[in-house]
Symmetry: D2
Subunit: 281 residues, 4 copies
Amino acid sequence: MPIRLARNAYGKNAVNLSKIIRHKDYHEFRQISVNISLEGDFETVHTLGDNSKVLPTDTQKNTVYALAKEYFGGSIEEFGIHLAEHFFSNNSQLSQCIVEIAEHLWNRIQIKGQYHPHAYISGGSEKHITAIIKTHEKTAVTSGVKDLLILKTSDSRFENYIKDQYTTLNETSDRVFATNCEVSWLYQIKPKDFTDIFNEIRTALISALANDKSLSVQHTLYSMGEEVLNKFSAIKEIRLKMPNKHHIPFNLLQFGMENNNEIFIATDEPYGYISGTVTRE
Amino acid sequence: MPIRLARNAYGKNAVNLSKIIRHKDYHEFRQISVNISLEGDFETVHTLGDNSKVLPTDTQKNTVYALAKEYFGGSIEEFGIHLAEHFFSNNSQLSQCIVEIAEHLWNRIQIKGQYHPHAYISGGSEKHITAIIKTHEKTAVTSGVKDLLILKTSDSRFENYIKDQYTTLNETSDRVFATNCEVSWLYQIKPKDFTDIFNEIRTALISALANDKSLSVQHTLYSMGEEVLNKFSAIKEIRLKMPNKHHIPFNLLQFGMENNNEIFIATDEPYGYISGTVTRE
Amino acid sequence: MPIRLARNAYGKNAVNLSKIIRHKDYHEFRQISVNISLEGDFETVHTLGDNSKVLPTDTQKNTVYALAKEYFGGSIEEFGIHLAEHFFSNNSQLSQCIVEIAEHLWNRIQIKGQYHPHAYISGGSEKHITAIIKTHEKTAVTSGVKDLLILKTSDSRFENYIKDQYTTLNETSDRVFATNCEVSWLYQIKPKDFTDIFNEIRTALISALANDKSLSVQHTLYSMGEEVLNKFSAIKEIRLKMPNKHHIPFNLLQFGMENNNEIFIATDEPYGYISGTVTRE
Amino acid sequence: MPIRLARNAYGKNAVNLSKIIRHKDYHEFRQISVNISLEGDFETVHTLGDNSKVLPTDTQKNTVYALAKEYFGGSIEEFGIHLAEHFFSNNSQLSQCIVEIAEHLWNRIQIKGQYHPHAYISGGSEKHITAIIKTHEKTAVTSGVKDLLILKTSDSRFENYIKDQYTTLNETSDRVFATNCEVSWLYQIKPKDFTDIFNEIRTALISALANDKSLSVQHTLYSMGEEVLNKFSAIKEIRLKMPNKHHIPFNLLQFGMENNNEIFIATDEPYGYISGTVTRE
């Protein structure tokens, strides 16, 4: 059988951009990281070294900075859509353009209950993310959160699972549930305001996790996804990745002490990894 | 439309295991990291919290350590296949089991030209990887390398690309080509010895990159893939991910000095990201 | 001259411990990472392999978990002092014991304005830190913050510096000031409540940075240190490390656009690194 | 007591520079990361915002790139000394200048036993480091290695240590010894060739670790230091940092199997941390 190029893509990753938006009374500070990925009629680039259809990744980077001046002022979703449309409409060789944006969150500092006009503190490792996948047929938009670290110290059980010759885990009706969520949802209709619906869905996810009577990570994951689909008709599908950041009770009995579910070893590896998609389709 | 669970998976990641294999004259030291991922009849786990079909990730971890005693002595591919078969044949609820193994390389220390019997130095960040995807129909095996850092200081051009209003990059007939390769290939027939063929393919990839007269990263990527498919009939398909680790000439002209392609700023971000699959299908 | 052992130390690092403190109406979740470092009469350990005076680092780790049950309920400073005293009074071979604790911050989740009783969200990368250095003569206690990311978009100038043949930086009366502070302060008298004074000093540092009319990072660093020493008589000395996380204006002129101090490249490396100690001595 | 500025320093960190040195038959590729740190008459910078004595960190960075063209061709020690002398002799306000350089290692690729003229593979995470501390009185030079991962599977015991109520560790006459060494040594006389002596000392350190009959990490650390001071009269003092990367035997007995010191859990945290200085003074 002949050898041929199959799926391929190229683009610029980690275009780190900050913007100051100068409002009358205060500055808005935004920090994003942008990835661009292009697919299309690029076979001869690979096979012949013909670069005549290649928009260099350096130019992609420049374009992000240039377009940010006029077009990045609102949601990252809108800016991402603008970028995808720009690349797509100016490059007829493309069959697909993916734009991914992650926004690092900064909060205005409060001093004695007043917001400072131009000083900010990091919002932590949590990021607001979006991905725009543009083809000739359609523009799919997802939004989500990444590195959302949540934890609960009660209402989490894990029981009645399979036991075999390698089982050592004890069943528990009360364990620590800790996870570093990555969640993204696909819009089936364009929302009125991407930022508003993002904030509402984020709140719904956190509430669902906090209030769930968890029987497993899977069980909670599904509750979270179901909650979002039930409440937000604009959402077609939601994907959740929930690593299980284990907190293992430390054995104090060996020192003649009781550990009433109070002292834990926090571990990074190994970790459980649970992922699932909840959909209307 | 009703809400339902779509694709989902769970398992244990980052099961870090070391093994000493005690040969007559020397010790062999192996260090691997294993990921397990299971798919199957898990809908009620999510929707009802019914754990009766859940093999806990803790048990998966224990199983890796237990089976490593008898079954991990040769290639990571063979051990991975054994693990996948174990989980698959003991858990009828599974439709798919993925086992991924990354091996950290250790080299025996040489002292005055002699190999030390039990002392090792790290082989660096490069890892030998494998993935086994087992379903009822078949067992797909891939092997590969990850974090293979290669660089060449000549035989790399980038010219004749699209110019638009955001272009600032200069064409160059002589640039630094540096990449952190991740490559994996799919076997269409089981090789006689996974370790032998791995070593041969790794050598072929490195030689292809070193000797290529590169017109772009894409061009080199394809050459590397083509070389492997041409030389190794056991391989059906090869996937390459080659970030472009830019080395930007430092502007010495501003100090009245010439930079004859000798002094560079090594940057991490942003970076070009090129991926492609070369196939026989 | 004879060869001899000079300064040496050993201990266990990164003892990761979580504790749930079950109050009547809610759970308090604490997560810390502890380092222990011992110095003393350890010469023969090194020179002869005599372990008779070695308290194993594994035992140090166990001790941290065991003592956390009874003694970790309030400030990390008090727990650190307790640990240092425990090791010091039970090991007469010690001349010095250093205990370092970093606390990862978790905030109770608010749902519709109400604190959830047992669900938490990460407080980000910022950590509350302490170090206790215990010797026969005294116990020195420092507290501080680490990975405190702050940024201001105005009130930061950098002008009138030395120019030489390698200068390319332009003077600016309005730049982004961004830093990832690590600050620690030494108590000269024991405060009534370590947690209260920590919170007050943290607030003072953030306010000082936010309100400063900065002429340089050094200038702001000193203002912050001076503010703390002026306001808090319990503090003898304060040390600040303030990397300068550069935000470089992107050159939009090359595309015929103006950059009115609005679009920046956020860079990680290289970075300015400024450190200084402000003291009463 | 009045408030005043105590010790302070500033400079540029992580100046990442690559250089191609074009020899007749092959290219030499060098990659370094440089830190500059200046101390001196900088009190009014902090207290008054007077920048008239400040050489900006941006200019420091430019200087590194500019001087690399002519002066970086041999050892990093010689280049570091040149940089330190440049900054010191051109800035009379300095009392001390520290230049630190870490070199990332690249090896020329061998194809069929022949070195390729311009293709390289990463030498791993190990780095060759140097620090130059220049004052009016003297120039102290240290060289060393960082991130040198070594491991031995035999000749390592740990016995006869203190037991107390928190001891759970078992004595062992045969354990895995793994460490990520950072070692640096101070020259008392300038060696003929910094690169030659570096290579010899590195070899001596690795041999000493490999061949030691270790009774503890401390015992091996001292052997390594003693070996270097015994063999190399140019060295005045050597400092070793040797984290203990624990490999914990996995409990197979719980599955009715024996673990004859063959299957281990490789852990990152917590870790033992042992440091010591061996000196002639």
